[in-house]
Amino acid sequence: MGKRALFRRVFSFLVQAPRCFDQLLFPLLCQKNKKTRVRRRRDHEPCLLLLLLLLLLLILLLLLLHEAKTAFQRTTARPRPPLFSFLSIRFILIQNRAGKTRLAKWYMQFDDDEKQKLIEEVHAVVTVRDAKHTNFVEFRNFKIIYRRYAGLYFCICVDVTDNNLAYLEGIHNFVEVLNEYFHNVCELDLVFNFYKVYTVVDEMFLAGEIRETSQTKVLKQLLMLQSLE
């Protein structure tokens, strides 16, 4: 826990800023940390008005984005399965709502421009969807399976024929491991420990396939690695 104290020291501005703007420190899996939840609720009160304003803005934005989305869907016709398909996972992306990438893991050769384009497109497709929508979106020749945790979107891009629910739960399994490993993970953990997140990903997904699904086994291995110098 010493790290969080360190962050507070380093970013005093973050601590002073109204907490409701500080998405980065929200635990991704909130049910485990009741304290934060309580604090969050209390902190919301002074900025109720602000929230209302934000809501209005958001609605406007959503309308705009919806327009953009339909336009997007019009241009990208129905998905065509790729001609040369072998891999199941094409890439894993973790993005926040503002579109900042927190992790990008590619299992297919793309050049840098293409990667940037994909990141932007995924963001545009995923963020306009609400809770009533499915967790699956058709995307180019593939589909994206995504789930939102606090302000972060975890997206996995797979073949159209792949098992949606298995990958959806694959994401959750991954997030639970992150949560244990980083002890109540929040977005900031992923920023400062980006190099460790890669290790976690490699333990659970390798070469575009699921490598290990047991949380206990993964955590044991991660702990062992942690103890090494």
Partner: protein, 947 residues
């Protein structure tokens, strides 16, 4: 409790990251980064050797900067140095840097490979895993070359740690995917399959991905995995929810492994062994039963994990398509999901049901859910769910419910999302046609379709309604009446005007008896729309008018008046002007009889596959079309417009593109578009194949020389076509020189990037054929076509064909395609005319064994004289009439022109009609006596002698 959040990391890195996060502007951030880069650079260049920690820290900072989106051009060497460190953390950062910033710098790769090799042989499981992960992440060809033989050994060795085995299995999978030629399983096969029995479930999870991939490629070698997978699955499925401890996820035992096992089984047909099959069916039943049990947890994770297995099991049941009982149970289960409150489940249920609908066993069961699906179409909030509902309605449609479904789809169309309207229109049009018992209903439906979604009604749809109306007498009167009524609406869509113009022009007489639709009323109605229409529609209307003159002489004066007015006869559009002038003249000069002949009713259209269906297929792509469409096209034979195979559309396209003077182009093109099996281009079978009518085989991406054979006897046409790309060819040959124009058409709406084409002459062809070309533009815009010219010179006789390799990026994925270019020796034939006397004199001279070749082969199709003649001409030789005493025989002569020499060829074809055998015992004789004649003949034989 694992907690990384101690200050264990790199302090300097944390400070740097927070500095970056503190930056208020992009400029400040760049400034800070540049400062850091300068700092790191000086540290790396400094005289003082850096310790491991600092090196690790700086490399990690560089990596962070790279991940922020800035280019990094140094530090690779330091990262490689870290690989040889003995400390895990340093090594890890080194490997991470390499994996993220892959660089094909050959020198670095060598160093990296060296480090990996050391780590692989270190026997330290942690280091081995790091090295394996690096190979799996980079997966370059160089790595495959270096390690493809090493990794299987690690995978099956008895003393390898479980975690290393997991990494090794997936690492091997990655190498197999990038360079399948380098990964030779051979001796390892059975040991890899037996990993399915491994104690450690993680190893099984990893290994099964590898096995699935390998068995897709070599199903026979991995056949034994079926029984192992079934027994493993049955152990998991029958275990209690707590048995598997670590691998139980929210009370579901090993959900991912179960899914993977079920997926592996989908690579194979149902097991033949009764015991295995019984066990598998039992498993599937248990899975279906479990879906009915009350959930062990309220958490969505529990139900998701359970349903992931269920959906995979249903896919397997559909794949087998042989257990009616299971299919119906699956269908009922999905039916329950259709009303589930989870949107995900509704979506997936609709998707799975779509495939169930195509099975004869479950089609009826699917149909019972029609009301729910219609409801979903109306009320779902997510457009993709509505789309699935529309797909399912389409799939479950048959004669019994067609009217209801079409009506629902039509009413949905009024509010449908723009993104799916066009597809919906096509589907409605297809269903209406396919299941029309009563053609007035069909006409109503299509006219409604045009009324509701006119903008989305493509040409094919209204062409089709006209084809059908013209071909069926019983509906013509009704159609005329309906379009007449539809046109009375104050605003109607242009497509409606087109249909109206055409139909009234043809069949207006059928309703002319009614004073409310007298000829003049009809004409005025049409003409009232005239000025609002685009040029093509106006042109169509002008033709309708001239047809009116024939149908109703009493309207002649009015129509001539219209044609004569300046806006027609001096129209700035050439087509309109020409039509106006010509029609006016025609109507004033020609007698009634002539008019009646010229303007006779259109003859019926040849029955063939609906062009709409082809369009839908094209729109959806091969995978999305899936079983349902295949099923449809199969069924369609028996339905409305019986006949026409799938290949035909492309064939006609090829034929229409071909502009060869020789009639053989069409004849050849007409049916052989489907790949000619996997016909090996071996000498003997080649020509036989050209003549054979290949049955429609499933098109596959792998066979790329399917276009090749069709071009033996013709020079122009479509060489290759798939979902993305169409390649057309136009070629001309003179003496030993040839010029080939290649047209690359991008069929998508997306740009192709880095489009490159290379023509290569493999092996000895290099010295036989000289092919020159210029590189093409690297970008091909969506819908655009680019052209490439090849100059070909034949130096001496040759038997291989040059290869054309095409590479481009489509949507990020690299596409690679290799085709045989249809350059064959017979292209350099120059026809020679000679008399009967000359012919037989030369024929006799050429009597040495190596100067002749002869072949008897069976005719695959009826021997039509004209077809045969056309093909022989297409071959390039001169067809000599009145030479052979037997008029049944065909005799040809020609000279093959190469740079080094000219070779005369004589040819006789003796068809034996009774036995339906192309009884070709006629030898081919070659005039020249040169060294490679046997070879030459051998090659020539398939083309000429066999004919």
């Amino acid at each position: 409790m694992p907690a990384v959040s101690k200050g264990d990391g790199m302090r300097g890195l944390a400070v740097f990251i927070s500095d970056i996060r503190n930056c208020k502007s992009k400029e400040a951030e760049i400034k800070r980064i540049n400062k850091e880069l300068a700092n790191i650079r000086s540290k790396f260049k400094g005289d003082k050797a850096l310790d491991g920690y600092s090196k690790k820290k700086y490399v990690c900072k560089l990596l962070f900067i790279f991940l922020l989106g800035h280019d990094i051009d140094f530090g690779h060497m330091e990262a490689v140095n870290l690989l040889s460190s003995n400390k895990y953390t340093e090594k890890q950062i080194g490997y991470l840097f390499i994996s993220v910033l892959v660089n094909s710098n050959s020198e670095l790769i060598r160093l990296i490979n060296n480090a990996i090799k050391n780590d692989l042989s270190s026997r330290n499981p942690t280091f081995m895993c790091l090295a394996l992960h690096c190979i799996a992440n980079v997966g370059s060809r160089e790595m495959a070359e270096a390690f493809a033989s090493e990794i299987p050994r690690i995978l099956v060795a008895g003393d390898t740690m479980d975690s290393v085995k997991q990494s090794a299995a997936l690492c091997l999978l990655r190498l197999y995917k990038t360079s399948p030629d380098l990964v030779l399983m051979g001796e390892w096969t059975s040991r890899v399959v037996h990993l399915l029995n491994d104690q450690h479930m993680g190893v099984v999870t990893a290994a099964i991905s590898l096995i699935t991939c390998l068995s897709q490629k070599n199903p026979d070698e991995f056949k034994t995995c079926v029984s192992l997978a079934v027994s493993r699955l049955s152990r998991i499925v029958s275990s209690a929810s707590t048995d598997l401890q670590d691998y139980t996820y929210y009370f579901v035992p090993a959900p991912w492994l179960s899914c993977k096992l079920l997926r592996l089984l989908q690579c194979y047909p149902p097991p033949e062994d009764g015991a295995v099959k019984g066990r598998l069916v039992e498993c599937l039943e248990t899975i279906l039963n479990k879906a009915q049990e009350p959930p062990k947890s309220k958490k969505v994770q529990h139900s998701n994990a359970k349903n992931a297995i269920l959906f995979e099991a249903i896919s397997l049941i559909i794949h087998y398509d042989s257990e009616p009982n299971l299919l119906v149970r699956a269908c009922n289960q999905l039916g329950q999901f259709l009303q589930h409150r989870e949107t995900n489940l509704r979506y997936l249920a609709l998707e799975s049901m779509c495939t169930l609908a195509s099975s004869e066993f479950s089609h009826e069961a699917v149909k019972t859910h029609i009301e729910t699906v219609i409801n979903a179409l109306k009320t779902e909030r997510d457009v993709s769910v509505r789309q699935r509902a529309a797909d399912l309605l389409y799939a479950m449609c048959d004669r019994s419910n067609a009217k209801q479904i079409v009506a629902e789809m039509l009413s949905y169309l009024e509010t449908a999302d723009y993104s799916i309207r066009e597809e919906m229109v096509l589907k409605v049009a297809i269903l209406a046609e396919k299941y029309a018992v009563d053609y007035s209903w069909y006409v109503d439906t299509i006219l409604n379709l045009i009324r509701i979604a006119g903008d989305y009604v493509s040409e094919e749809v209204w062409y089709r309604v006209i084809q059908i109306v013209i071909n069926r007498d019983d509906v013509q009167g009704y159609a005329a009446k309906t379009v007449f009524e539809a046109l009375q609406a104050p605003a109607c869509h242009e497509n409606m005007v087109k249909v109206g113009g055409y139909i009234l022009g043809e069949f207006g007489n059928l309703i002319a008896g009614d004073p409310r639709s007298s000829p003049l009323v009809q004409f005025n109605l049409l003409h009232s729309k005239f000025h609002l229409c685009s040029v093509p529609t106006r042109a169509l209307l002008l033709s309708a008018y001239i047809k009116f003159i024939n149908l109703f002489p009493e309207t002649k004066a009015t129509i001539q008046e219209v044609l004569r007015c300046d806006s027609q006869i001096r129209n700035s559009d050439v087509e309109l002007q020409q039509r106006a002038v010509e029609y006016l003249k025609l109507s004033s000069i020609a007698s009634t009889d002539v008019l009646a002949t010229v303007l006779e009713e259109m003859p019926p259209f040849p029955e063939r596959e609906s062009s709409i269906l082809a369009k839908l297929k094209k729109k959806k792509g091969p995978g999305a079309v899936s079983v349902t469409e295949l099923e449809d096209s199969k069924r369609e034979g028996g339905e409305l417009n019986g006949g026409g195979d799938r290949g035909q559309d492309t064939a006609t396209m090829a034929a229409s593109n071909a502009s060869t003077p020789s009639p053989s182009a069409d004849l050849l093109g007409i049916r052989s578009t489907a790949p000619l099996g996997a016909a090996p281009a071996s000498a003997g079978s080649l020509l036989v194949d050209v003549f054979s009518e290949a049955g429609p085989t499933a098109p596959s991406a792998a066979v790329n020389d399917d276009g090749f054979l069709r071009f033996v006897c013709k020079n122009n046409g479509v060489l290759f076509e798939n979902q993305l790309l169409q390649i057309g060819i136009k070629s001309e040959y003179r003496q030993n020189l040839g010029r080939m124009y290649l047209f690359y058409g991008n069929k998508t709406s997306v740009q192709f990037a880095s489009f490159t084409t290379t023509v290569s002459c493999p092996g000895e062809l290099q010295s036989q054929l000289n092919v020159q070309t210029k590189p093409v533009e690297p970008l091909v815009e969506g819908g655009a076509q680019i052209q490439q010219v090849l100059n070909i010179e034949c130096l001496t006789d040759f038997s291989d064909a040059p290869l054309l390799n095409i590479k481009f990026r489509y949507g990020g994925a690299l596409q690679n395609l290799t085709l045989k270019l249809p350059v064959t020796i017979n292209k350099f034939f120059q026809p020679t005319e000679m008399t009967s006397h000359d012919f037989f004199q030369r024929w006799k001279q050429l009597s040495q064994p190596q100067q002749e070749a002869q072949k008897i082969f069976k005719a695959n199709n009826s021997m039509d004289t004209e077809v045969l003649k056309a093909k022989l001409l297409g071959l390039g030789t001169a067809l000599l009439d009145n030479v052979d005493p037997n008029p049944e025989n065909y005799v040809c002569a020609g000279v093959i022109q190469t740079k080094s020499q000219q070779v005369g060829c004589l040819l006789r074809l003796e068809p034996n009609a009774q036995a339906q055998v192309q009884h070709t015992d006629s030898p081919e004789r070659v005039s020249h006596n040169y060294s490679s004649i046997p070879n030459f003949l051998h090659y020539l034989s398939p083309y000429s002698v066999n004919i």
